[in-house]
């Protein structure tokens, strides 16, 4: 995967939906955006951080706002370029490459469109290798790398740059700006050098996304042994096959919280409960937590093996629940405080490792 073209996006989109772990925004719009940008501006080179000079500046870009708004306010493309340019201008330095902070959900593909439009390569790395709802929930935070200064831009040409003292303040200021700018904006944060990325990022996440998607495509084609190969090569574990028997959605403090109750298909009456806050966070089987954030909880449609996002789940939906291991880079001091169950208010739930 040295050069990304229009034809590579479909597979990456499937991987992005899977790594969105139920949230991350529907990557369909981002797919069309990336395809159009690659067709218009030409292919994008994929580079490893080690391929760049250690002091080269790498800037990220991402959608920030409400996924529901993005369904109506389709991106222009210029807002992402604007966010990168605003931050570069503040820093007084041109970026050598673009990077995704979140390989999972729609923010996997958006930076590819921006890289095409700006004629820059994309770095094969990110800060999550899954979707999370907040800016500070990255391995960069664990490595002590600041989210700020950061920029927010809209499609009309409004731009602002924040200099921040910590990553939690960065999150709060960014959200406040977005509310004023129409809830579907671009953010550029974590301005890093290639050297910092080689050291502190999850390196290889775009290739990982592409590979797990390729394994899943084989399952969807019903290739012999493809499901077992998907599980073993991605290190995933199948936990449950069931159908949705209850669905409780509510909004609290800006997050889409919901509880999904699944009943198994074999009639034994086993229950799986999945707690969702934008992403699937904790899966309980018969009352016991069996998969916990930051490991990934993914629901796949039982017939099509398509990953299911929270917004589209419905009563009676028949699903397979798998646990996928989070990137090993997450396993550093501070992980549980930042992205473990307690970070989402589940104080009585302990993190559990996936069975091997």
């Amino acid at each position: 995967m040295d050069l990304l073209t229009h034809d590579d996006i479909e597979t990456l989109c499937l991987g992005a939906t899977l790594l969105g772990t139920g949230g991350g925004g529907d990557p369909y719009v981002a797919k069309l955006l990336a395809q159009q940008a690659l067709a218009t501006y030409g292919p994008v080179r994929v580079v490893d951080p080690g391929d760049l000079p250690p002091d080269a500046l790498v800037l990220t870009t991402a959608v920030i706002g409400a996924p529901t708004v993005t369904l109506e306010k389709i991106p222009a493309g210029t807002e992402f370029v604007g966010s990168v340019e605003a931050l570069a201008s503040y820093l007084g330095k041109e970026p050598a490459a673009i990077m995704s902070i979140e390989v999972g959900g729609l923010n996997t593909l958006v930076p590819i469109a921006t890289a095409a439009e700006m004629g820059l390569p994309i770095v094969n790395a990110d800060g999550m290798r899954r979707a999370f709802p907040q800016i500070e929930m990255t391995v960069f935070t664990l490595a002590g790398l600041p989210a700020g200064p950061l920029s927010i831009a809209d499609e009309k040409g409004n731009q602002c740059v924040f200099k921040t003292t910590n990553n939690h303040v960065a999150e709060a200021l960014a959200r406040a700006a977005v509310i004023q700018l129409g809830m579907a904006n671009a953010i550029s944060c974590y301005p890093l050098t290639a050297g910092q990325i080689a050291e502190g990022a999850i390196v290889g996440s775009l290739t990982y996304c592409n590979e797990v998607a390729g394994l899943l495509e084989a399952v969807q084609r019903a290739d012999e042994g493809a499901w077992e190969r998907f599980l073993s090569e991605s290190g995933s574990v199948e936990f449950f096959r069931g159908k949705v028997v209850d669905l409780d959605r509510r909004t609290t403090a800006g997050f889409a919280r919901s509880t999904v109750i699944l009943e198994d298909l074999d009639g034994s009456g086993d229950i799986m409960r999945i707690e969702v806050q934008n992403e699937n966070l904790i899966a309980f089987r018969d009352g016991e937590a069996v998969i916990t954030t930051p490991n990934l909880i993914c629901m796949l449609d039982l017939e099509t093996f398509d990953p299911i996002t929270t917004e589209y789940i419905a009563y009676g939906h028949r699903v397979i629940v798998i646990g996928m291991p989070c990137a090993p880079e997450w396993h550093r001091p501070g992980m549980l405080e930042l992205v473990g169950p307690e970070a989402f208010g589940y104080d009585d739930v302990d993190f559990v490792e996936l069975p091997r």
């Binding site: 719009v29 069309l32 955006l33 395809q35 159009q36 940008a37 706002g65 409400a66 996924p67 529901t68 708004v69 369904l71 109506e72 306010k73 389709i74 991106p75 222009a76 493309g77 210029t78 469109a113 709802p133 499609e155 009309k156 040409g157 959200r175 977005v178 509310i179 129409g182 809830m183 579907a184 159908k243 949705v244 028997v245 959605r249 509510r250 909004t251 800006g254 997050f255 889409a256 009943e263 298909l265 934008n278 017939e303 917004e311 589209y312 789940i313 419905a314 009563y315 009676g316 939906h317 028949r318």
Partner: protein, 523 residues
Amino acid sequence: MSPAGDSRDLRVGIDVGGTNTDAVVIDAAGEVLAAMKVATTPEPIDGIRSALDGVLVGLEHSRIAKAMLGTTHSANAIIQRRGLDKVAMLRLAAPSSLGISPGAAWPADIRAGVIGTTAIIEGGHEYNGKEIAALDTEAVKRLAAEAVRTGCRSIAVAGAFSPATTEHEIRAREILQAELGADFPVSVSYEIGSLGLLERENATILNAALLSVATGVISGFEGALAEHRLDVAAYLTQNDGTLMMAAEAGQYPVLTLGSGPTNSMRGACALAGVDDAIVIDVGGTSADAGILVGGFPRQSSAAIEVGGVRTNFRMPDLISMGLGGGTIVRDAGADLRIGPDSVGYDVATDAICVGGDVLTLSDVSLAAGRMTGFGDPARVATLDAEVVGGALGWVDEQISIVSERMKSTRAALPLLAVGGGAHLVPDAIPGVSEVIRPKHQSVANAYGAGIAEASGSVDRVYSYDASSREDCLDDARQLATDAAVRSGADPGQVRITTVTEVPMTYVPGGGCRVMVKAAGPLA
């Protein structure tokens, strides 16, 4: 038999499918007085005329008050790329949305055939109703001129957040028709679809492309009614099983193109007198299973593609499986294989029970006494009992699995077996309270059209902090009810059929998208 001449107590339901055109006459109690099935004709009016001829024999035409048509004719026009108008597309959203062109994900052949000129111009609204930009009225006029220059027959207009704020779409239509004449066809997206700009825009383009085809079908329908001296209120059935006045339906063909499966399921349930049931339609090659909840099919959560174009229509949630009357049975014992291939409609000549040489599920069904009235039992008398038992065991297992998958609770539900292969469905299924085989089920589609109701819906964003959730939901329920009454529903019998809430993540003020639908019988 002959009530007072002034009594207008009957309705006619008509279904124009790809293969057959059916008609039924239904009385006020829902009884089928007459039913007729004829072959669908290239011009739909010919089939409609013969079907009407059949059902109206011996009836006083003056007793018929209403006629309802369900048809897949428009859907077939899209699938076959036949008779579609060239459309100019105007999107009101710039500077947002410039990153994705109209028609971006369409199959190349239909895009080339349907989409003429396109423009994304300044206009459209934010989630909170503010303008993204003032509507660029000069650009609207330029699009009008370009549409004429490129030979477009109609124009589709889609603006950001138009389901919530219709203002710019309405003004754009006024400008276009001031430029091109009040008769120039303009489809606006807020009348077509719900939130999701790209999908709603796609649906609006398809709608504009189908206007000529739809006009043909509706004038055929109205022409056939006039020829039979039927002075009736004429309706078309929509994708969700509710009605639209025929005169209005000519402007909204995409809203009626997917009514077939809905009419079939609703018709079967009404014929059986149940509101909640699993429905299995077994044909020659495959079986489709669906479920009705409160008289309406449960809808699929997946995006629906029409002719390869992604839309945000809601369609019934169906599971298909390779199980039908013509499904081929091979080998025996541990090697017994059933399907997935089928002789399809050739079962009438190729099956063993009619003198052919292919062992099918119909032969097995006849040998076991499930099927009657087709084929010669003597021809299957020598079939290996193990093969018969094994094949029917497989059938029973498949039907049990699919009915269990369809249910969303443990409670036992009735199951309706319809279609030419319904004899395969066993009389006892785990988790099913009873298996019902409705009378007149071969014209379930036309019956479903005949009993369709009027409906209204609302889809908008509320702030649960500005007023309470209950107040917001009450408002949405009232708006949907009012809309249903405006569509002709009896105010005393309107009921809310669905309420869906989708919280808007990150939006302050408890923003929530609320979708409510109401329906009721015609007044």
